[in-house]
């Protein structure tokens, strides 16, 4: 049975610009999106900034109304039955905000336990349980302002689990966390999935989606451009190769020359501090490494390698490269 059903949902915003004469502009954040999530599934929403991931989560957690279409969570309509949904879902977002810094973690959890209607007699036990689950037991009496970002994020998850919701929405939970913290967070999410929670996860990190999600929907400009298991999505580009080069001062005409090569599927450039990473996805058996190196003649090449595609490569190809 589907726990979440999204049917042809759209959402637009109106923004105003101009100082003297206001111009009203319509922004289409989500366009005609449909998907379903089964009980116990971990479902990932991937996409670049502004693709509509957070807007979808906000509609499903009843913070926003869809402008068209319908969505149901646990059988309840997000537009007309928000109270029923709010009692049954947990909402966790990433970043520093969403907690009362001047209070201790324990006070934060006591407050949200009241807001989520956790019975007074069960609160002590439930708070102890979630603190233990996110490995914050023993630190709960410290003020949140002294917490590291990873600890804050784990506290966010504890808050979202206070009322033991069957459905959990995690909106970029690992954003800004160091690798060790992110790994701990993934372990926590994985444990929740093992416990049978239905999880909706948005993230920018492909390895995170690859490791945690049963299915993934990739969004671009408010629309779903691909949906399937991580293996399905990888298989879309697995027949080709990826040529990866770390270069310095990459000229624009070199990119144009590479794009014109026969057998090139997409070209992406990612800026690092002092270098650029050039990713070229090629068709099967194209064997373009030497020709790409030729296009880069005159550019300082730090390294050049050929490898099999990853989920990130599938993502880059689906959302569009340079």
């Amino acid at each position: 049975m589907s726990v979440i059903e999204v049917s042809r949902v759209s959402r637009h915003y109106h923004v105003r610009s101009g100082l003297r004469w206001w111009r009203r502009q319509e922004i289409q954040a989500v366009r005609d999106v449909s998907f379903h999530i089964d009980a116990g599934e971990t479902f990932g929403l991937l996409g670049p900034n502004g693709a509509g991931k957070t807007t979808i989560i906000k509609m499903l957690t009843t913070l926003l109304l869809p402008t068209a279409g319908s969505a149901r969570v646990l059988g309840f309509d997000v537009a007309s039955q928000p109270g029923e949904i709010r009692r049954r879902v947990g909402y966790v977002f990433g970043g520093d905000r969403g907690l009362y810094d001047r209070l201790s973690a324990l006070d934060n959890l006591r407050y949200f336990a009241e807001l989520y209607g956790v019975p007074a007699r069960a609160q002590r036990q439930r708070i102890a349980y979630v603190l233990d689950l996110v490995r914050l037991a023993g630190r709960e009496r410290e003020r949140v302002e002294g917490y590291s970002r990873g600890m804050r994020q784990r506290l966010h998850i504890a808050r979202g689990l206070l009322h033991d919701p069957p459905v959990l929405f995690l909106d970029e939970p690992s954003i800004g966390i160091d690798p060790v913290g992110a790994r701990e967070l993934r372990a926590t999410v994985s444990a929740l999935a093992d416990a049978g929670k239905t999880i909706v996860l948005t993230t920018h990190y492909m390895y995170e989606a690859d490791e945690l999600c049963d299915r993934i929907a990739i969004l671009r400009d408010g629309s779903i451009v691909a949906e399937g298991s991580p293996a399905d999505l990888k298989s879309r580009v697995s027949e080709g190769e990826v040529v990866e080069a770390v270069v310095h001062s990459l000229p624009a005409d070199a990119i144009a020359r590479i794009q014109e090569l026969a057998g090139v599927r997409s070209v992406t450039v990612r800026d690092l501090d002092r270098a650029q990473v050039l990713l070229v996805q090629t068709k099967p058996a194209a064997q373009l490494a030497a020709e790409i190196a030729g296009c880069l003649r005159g550019t300082a090449i730090q390294s050049l390698s050929v490898r099999a595609p990853t989920l990130e490569d599938a993502y880059v190809e689906l959302v569009g490269g340079t």
């Binding site: 905000r97 009362y100 006070d107 006591r110 407050y111």
Partner: protein
């Protein structure tokens, strides 16, 4: 949620927000010190009349004014603060009634105004020698609490309006001084122009303040308290309705999380 659960929610929320408000030493000190400047000004002006009753009138009025100042400037900013913390969406996404969550925070802010009342009355007593001796001390205290509570309800209305209209933050500050006059805190409502009096009658603190004055003078205060109760209930109901309406509007227009 049962009535007991809702009461517990208000109590816990009030306590934790009060705790948070006290974590800033600067804010705590200012809550006590700032009202003394205003009380000093009012008492110096009224002392010039040489009328002891006028001085008592000013001391009571100054005490109440400080609470309204605290509420009007802070309550309308509560939603902005929750936005800045990133907790506004969480309050909305929680199953607890949103208006109760906000009411609890406004009550915590109003409670801090209580320190200002105490500081002003003590300042009046020991620095200006004003002996407040209300004819009916208990009803006087009751009317004072009622007046302060009506500030909380007005602050609640301002706070919930800010869910949708962020400019209400500025309106809170703008309403501070007009209410000093309109509610008769320092100048009797009877001295106001006749066209302004109906506006005063629409404001619950006017009736609370009249009850305070009546108790101080040993006159019956029950009619004033009745009008206070009716108008306060009307404002509270209006605030609950506004909260539900602006929340629907905010879901439609996506204005909740904008900082």
């Amino acid at each position: 949620m049962s009535a007991g659960r809702l009461l517990r929610l208000v109590a816990v929320s009030w306590y934790l927000h009060l705790k948070m408000l006290h974590r800033s030493m600067f804010d705590s000190v200012m809550q006590v010190v700032w009202p003394l400047f205003f009380a000093t000004t009012a008492l110096l002006v009224y002392r010039a009349t040489g009328d002891r009753d006028a001085l008592s009138y000013a001391a009571t009025g100054a005490a109440v004014v400080t609470v309204w100042s605290a509420v009007s400037s802070n309550a309308s900013g509560i939603l902005q603060r929750e936005r800045a913390f990133g907790t506004l969406e969480l309050l909305v996404a929680a199953p607890a009634p949103f208006s109760l969550s906000i009411m609890s925070i406004v009550l915590a802010v109003t409670t801090t105004g209580g320190y200002a009342v105490a500081a002003t009355l003590l300042w009046s007593r020991f620095v200006f020698g004003v002996h407040l001796a209300p004819a009916w001390p208990l009803p006087f205290a009751l009317a004072l609490v009622a007046t302060v509570f009506s500030f909380g309800v007005l602050g609640f209305l301002l706070a919930v309006a800010a869910v949708r209209y962020r400019a209400v933050f500025a309106l809170g500050g703008a309403l501070e001084l007009p209410l000093w006059l309109a509610c008769g805190f320092l100048v009797p409502v009877a001295l106001l122009p006749s066209w302004l009096r109906p506006l005063s009658w629409l404001l619950p603190p006017t009736w609370g303040m009249q009850a305070v004055r009546a108790a101080a003078a040993g006159q019956s205060l029950w009619a004033d308290l009745g009008l206070w109760a009716g108008s306060t209930a009307a404002y509270a109901a209006a605030a609950v309705w506004v909260a539900a309406t602006v929340l629907r509007s905010a879901r439609r227009h996506a204005t909740l999380s904008l900082t």
